[in-house]
């Protein structure tokens, strides 16, 4: 809120310069975000947070803070209103509150024969300094008192109200109101209004209407000062998308006691700037004794929360300066603090500790080490392995990407809107961030496209959350690990990238102590929308043991084309949570054999579509324990375009025993079995 330094000076004797005042407020109450010179005045931009909005969106509120901080009494007295005893308020207006829940207190006075006109210079200047337009003396008076007291007020032209009958009730459905300034709002029957028998005169607590507007011809006025239920004000203000100085204060709640006090202040100001006589009597729909909040506490409580040795005397002195009335209870050391009526934020002893701490000064609160048992932190596997996989992938040449958790229409269009299970935001910031990302690949592919403009090769990974929703509306949030690999130039048909990323995953899993990763073919017909990413001939499911944990492969030509990527991209995306459940930190160690290894080579002709893993599997199965390694060292395909022609696979077979040197005869015997098995599968052995 904008606070005028000169205006503060009217209520408290300030010797301190504006900068000093700003400094004191910043360190003890509210942050002053800036000071601006305005004529002979200085305007402080004070950041009043929601817990003090009910009392400090006002000059008196800020002056009261300075009162406690500077130990200087403020100068402010409520006016005594001279009423015209001959005139009775009940002869002029009646107020009927239909909804006392939403309008717990409504006070009003009537002033006759005012002279509406321009405001005097002092009033104009004050409002102008704080960025408010001057309208006329009566309206300006209401604004002035709001800026002084923090209580929003309203003035109506009495003669424009049907029979002087004011009703506080819900609007009619689809009723329109033209508000001050000329905008029209269509209301519904949840909006609380001030009305006469015919029309809405104001949207309660938010804005007045033109019907009972104060204008040059206005003579007799009603001045309103009320307490409206804050949540309702907030709801209505949001619904109508209409925020005003008034709604801002009401939605933060203003003390119900303040409205009656402020009513007399505005009457006094109106008489001063517009003249008139005050009709005797006050409309007050809740004229009762308001109990002050009491907080039970001990000075030890305060010391315990702050942690410093501050004396009872100092604590009580600070509370007194803040206008708390502290009294003893009948229990030893237990005190009762009666909270000033305007301080709606204080209900607990912790609130009192906050008051004491800030007035005492946080700069006086010195650090003190914790004395506690030593206990080691439990390891959080999610965090621990997040770091570990990052380090492994960085070691393998991949960089750590952080992308947005959202995707937009553009990404969805790539999939011809076929992507199901998407979660959309109710209130997105922009079209390109409308949905929660269901896969990390969208952005990684975007990153590939962008980076290929200036990089020769791309190796990126991201570890992050993805989101989807099931048909039963269950939200699934999963942490995924995805990576992409691409080269600016690559051979047209080469599947090198695929095998490169497959090799990378081999190392990746080995480093995590996972030895049983295997791939199996990937059915593109699967209904999961995610499948559409992948090249139907060059993708596979990644399995560990019996568990499928993700997909590896090249990105589909279709997707690449739509994302404007002019090269092949190999990628993987895996369920990180599944991986960390499988990770085995025990490495399988086999002693190194003391006996020599024997290597035999074998070349096998198979059909083109025979899977290498199948051939290798059969060799390994028949070879048994003594066959310690099968290594593919060559694949030869005569004519790649002719699927009918066979392909030739060449393997090194390595035999070794833990117990003895293998004889040629023993190895020959094993080779014979292997050759037999190959023949049984109708593959041909080339010698």
């Amino acid at each position: 809120m904008k606070i005028s330094y000169n205006w503060l000076k009217e209520h408290i004797d300030l010797k301190e310069k504006p900068e000093k005042v700003a400094d004191i407020l910043t360190m003890h109450a509210f942050e002053v975000e800036g000071i601006e010179k305005f004529g002979k005045d200085y305007i402080l931009d004070v950041d009043i947070l929601p817990n003090r909005a009910h009392d400090c969106l006002s000059h008196i509120g800020v002056a009261r803070e300075l009162e406690a901080l500077l130990k200087r009494k403020i100068n402010f007295k409520l006016p005594k209103i001279k009423e015209d005893k001959k005139l009775k308020i009940s002869d002029y207006i009646s107020v009927n509150v239909k909804d006392a829940k939403l309008c717990p207190r409504y006070t009003a006075r009537v002033v006759l024969n005012v002279k509406v006109g321009p405001s005097p210079k002092w009033l104009k200047d004050k409002l102008e300094a704080l960025g408010q337009n001057s309208i006329n003396n009566v309206v300006d008076a209401a604004n002035f008192v709001m800026l002084l007291m923090g209580q929003p007020l309203h003035a109506f032209d009495l003669d424009k109200i049907e029979n002087g009958k004011i009703i506080i009730a819900k609007a009619k459905d689809k009723e329109t109101i033209k508000t001050l300034g000329g905008e029209k709002y269509i209301l519904d029957n949840a909006v609380l209004t001030i009305r006469d028998n015919k029309d809405a005169l104001a949207i309660v607590g938010i804005k007045g209407g033109v019907k009972a507007e104060i204008d040059k011809s206005t003579k007799n006025i009603i001045l309103e000062s009320a307490y409206f239920e804050p949540k309702n004000i907030r709801k209505t203000s949001k619904k109508l998308n209409l925020r005003t100085e008034s709604s801002l204060r009401f939605e933060n709640e203003v003390s119900p006691i303040l409205c009656r006090k402020s009513l007399d202040v505005i009457v006094d100001v109106v008489l001063n700037v517009a003249g008139g006589n005050v009709v005797s009597g006050v409309i007050d729909t809740a004229d009762k004794k308001y109990e002050k909040t009491k907080v039970i506490f001990s000075t030890k409580d305060i010391r315990d929360i702050i942690g410093i040795e501050i004396s009872d005397k100092d604590i009580l002195s600070i509370l007194k300066r803040l206008n708390f009335l502290v009294s003893k209870s009948n229990k030893k050391d237990i005190l009762i603090a009666e909270v000033p009526f305007e301080r709606l934020d204080i209900t607990l002893k912790e609130d009192l500790a906050d008051e004491v701490a800030r007035i005492y000064g946080y700069e006086n609160i010195k650090a003190k080490p914790i004395e506690a048992e030593l206990w080691p932190a439990e390891r959080n596997n999610d965090y621990f392995y997040s770091n570990k996989v990052r380090d492994i992938l960085v070691g393998l040449g991949f960089s750590d990407a952080y992308n947005y958790s959202f995707i937009g229409e553009k990404e969805i269009k790539i999939f011809d809107n076929k992507y199901t299970g998407l979660i959309n935001l109710l209130n997105p910031l922009s079209e390109d961030k409308k949905f929660l990302r269901p896969s990390l690949l969208f952005h990684l592919l975007n990153n590939t496209h962008e980076n290929l403009k200036h990089q020769k090769s791309i190796r990126l990974f991201e570890l992050g959350e993805v989101f989807s929703v099931s048909k039963t509306k269950d939200i699934k949030e999963k942490k995924m690990l995805a990576g992409v690999l691409a080269y600016k130039k690559n051979k047209k048909e080469s599947a090198e990238s695929f095998y490169e990323i497959k090799g990378i995953l081999d190392v990746f899993f080995q480093k995590l102590g996972i030895s049983d990763m295997w791939l199996n073919s990937f059915e593109k017909s699967s209904i999961h929308p995610h499948c559409l990413f992948w090249h139907s001939g060059r993708a596979a499911k990644i399995n560990i043991g019996n568990e499928t944990i993700g997909t590896i492969g090249e990105i589909s030509h279709l997707i690449l084309k739509k994302m404007d990527i002019d090269t092949r991209v190999a990628a993987f995306e895996m369920d990180f949570e599944k991986i960390i459940q499988i990770i085995n930190e025990e490495y399988d160690y086999r002693p190194i054999s003391k006996f020599p290894a024997v290597t035999r080579d074998i070349a096998i002709l198979t059909e083109r579509n025979t899977k290498i893993a199948d051939v290798q599997g059969i060799i390994e199965e028949v070879g048994g324990q003594l066959l310690i390694d099968v290594e593919l060292f060559d694949i030869y395909e005569d004519d790649k375009t002719n699927a009918l022609l066979p392909k030739s696979l060449a393997f090194h077979l390595i035999f070794q025993s833990q117990e003895k040197t293998l004889s040629d005869k023993e190895v020959d015997e094993l080779m014979k079995n292997i050759l037999k098995a190959i023949a049984e599968n109708n593959w041909e052995v080339r010698v």
């Binding site: 910043t26 003890h28 509210f30 942050e31 947070l49 929601p50 817990n51 003090r52 907030r234 315990d304 929360i305 702050i306 410093i308 607990l348 912790e350 906050d354 701490a357 946080y362 609160i365 010195k366 650090a367 003190k368 914790i370 506690a372 048992e373 030593l374 932190a377 959080n380 999610d382 965090y383 621990f384 770091n387 380090d391 992938l393 960085v394 040449g397 960089s399 750590d400 990407a401 952080y402 992308n403 947005y404 958790s405 998407l422 979660i423 959309n424 935001l425 109710l426 209130n427 910031l429 961030k433 952005h443 962008e450 980076n451 990089q455 959350e465 989101f467 929703v469 509306k473 939200i475």
Partner: protein
Amino acid sequence: MKDIDFDKLKKEVEAELQSIKTQEEIENFRLKYFSRKSGVLNDILKSIKGLSIEKKKEYGKFANQLKIYIENEIEIKKESLKMEHIKNLEEEEKIDITAPGKKVFSGHIHPLTHIIRKSVDIFESMGFEVASGPEVETEFYNFDALNIPASHPSRDMQDTFWLDPKTVGPGFLMRTQTSSVQVRYMEKNNPPFRIVCPGRVFRKEATDATHEMQFYQIECLVVAKDMSLVHLKSVLELFFKKLLENEKIKVRFRPSYFPFVEPGVEVDVICFKCLGKGCPLCKKTGWIEIGGAGMVHPKVLDSAKIDTSEFKGFAFGMGIERVAMIKYGVGDVRLFYNTDMRMLKQF
């Protein structure tokens, strides 16, 4: 037979050895003396067969000494020639070590990962356990349980992305703060505890150089007996000294308001560039606003069913991007989410 002049012979051998420059010459030299057919030493040994026993003994002794001498010298010469050869070879193979190194694929850790790790490491070293929670949260954990009731203006302090209730049902949002993790942790664990929660949070804010719609927070929470603001200050001072690698770092509190703490404070650290003198980094104030903290509000402890008569807690939270920007001099927060290799390669 005439006398054999062994001294002369030895001198000849020495002279010959001096002139040998290659392995080949050594071999020739060896053959000259040791060849079975025509070797000089063999000839001597043959020629002394017919001599008297004394002469035989005398000449035999000399011949043997000479033989051992030559054999030794050949070995020494061979070794020195080998060394010389390697020396020459390496001289020939000399390269320009200033030529650029061969390119290998190198990966890079994201700057935000660096800051998160460093922060978490410091807290872990003080016995804080890492806690985590979901990014899609319920209204309860993100707001209600943190003393931010519905229709309360304090909700406006954090503009929230809501999920479409038509898609997922009512009450789901993108968490606006990692404090939601506090509540989840407190529900499942009994005090005393110390936790640290790093995580991604979301705010519906227009983006610019210093504001992002998503960012990382790190938050710490201690719940134990006798905790107070002085302990909070101590933990933060230790933390920032280590994080900013400067033992002169100081921390100050300013009054503030966060619904889930009371008292609540703004945390400033002394500007680590100028140590409080005032410079462009701290906008001449000497201090850098870094996060929020306070004593955990009794309502928050209550909603996690922690006995407030026995336990008190404090919490602190800060934005990771802000620290990364200050520490690395990154001028625009959006760069962290662009995945531009030209930026990532520098970390």
